[in-house]
Subunit: 185 residues, 2 copies
């Protein structure tokens, strides 16, 4: 960010009084701009033992496979976000189930949240952001062509839990940041 979104004056990076992290501060109007991690929400929709996968029509990772997921919007719950993304990307009306995974993607400044889901009717298709959408048997998942590590983590935990007859949730952290000087605290 280079300019204040409230008054249009240039901002500079500095640690505000009483704070301990640098923020973009506007000297003209005083506004402090906080940047926080964004939520990406998705689900693993299942229909009669098969899993709904989407092949991405957009970057990043165009042509690779994922489950329906995307940025959470204001004015919706996590579950509603997962339903909306399924509708937009896979033209699928899913029923959201239990919490499946929470992935801290530190280098992207994102938190990914995935739910279990069911697809009551085998009705789906490629939304604007998908090249194709298909139901795959667990043994046919194209692991080498999965778009993101958070998707792979989520699918693997889903299948493990299903094989074990349980529904747990799983946390993990992915960090591809460049090496930095150690920080305090």
């Amino acid at each position: 960010m280079k300019f204040c979104d409230e008054c249009g004056a240039p901002v500079r990076l500095s640690v505000p009084p009483g704070d301990n992290l640098p923020r973009y501060v506007c000297d003209a109007c005083g506004k402090i701009h906080y940047h926080n991690p964004r939520l990406v929400v998705g689900c693993v929709p299942e229909h009669e033992g098969r899993i709904l996968l989407c092949r991405r029509a957009i970057e990043p990772r165009r042509g690779y496979w994922t489950v329906p997921a995307g940025f959470m919007e204001n004015d919706e719950t996590l579950q509603q976000a997962a339903m909306r993304e399924s509708r937009e990307e896979a033209l699928a009306e899913v029923t959201i189930g239990s919490l499946l995974s929470v992935v801290h993607v530190l280098h992207a400044r994102q938190v990914h949240v995935f739910f279990r889901a069911t697809l009551p009717a085998a009705s789906y298709g490629a939304g604007a952001e998908s090249l194709e959408v298909t139901l795959v048997e667990p043994g046919q998942i194209p692991w080498e062509e999965i778009a993101f590590p958070s998707t792979e983590f989520t699918l693997r935990r889903y299948l493990e839990d299903k094989a074990a007859g349980r529904e747990q949730h799983h946390f993990t952290t992915i960090d591809r940041r460049l090496r930095k000087a150690p920080e305090d605290g």
Copy 2:
């Protein structure tokens, strides 16, 4: 927001091509500004059956009681955020446990996430954002003076689960938005 944070030109609210929600768009440089819910993260620290509460020194709800919680920063996990907030607000070194609650606070465009936690040593104090910090017996929680509905929801579920000998997680939604025209989808 009134100005583009990248080039300083005025922005206007419009639905970008291929999108279905209004965004702040800059006609000068083309940047589309997305605004998403922010994560607030906290925990319920327990020490020998008593719960750590902080009386807020800042608005909103100055003078009311809460558990350590605050906005998640970039470059940290949810658990690290809960630890950091405990350190900042209650000078307490906590050990984070299981996921306790997820509260969609729609009117504030926030998602609140709370964990169970333990406070191994009875060492704590008022951080800069707290008037006082104390350990209270569950029967002595000042329910009428709890700062936020998400805090009350979280504390009640914590105590219920503890009484039942279980550790579940709980979703809820709080919506104090003004009534609007019904929306599609």
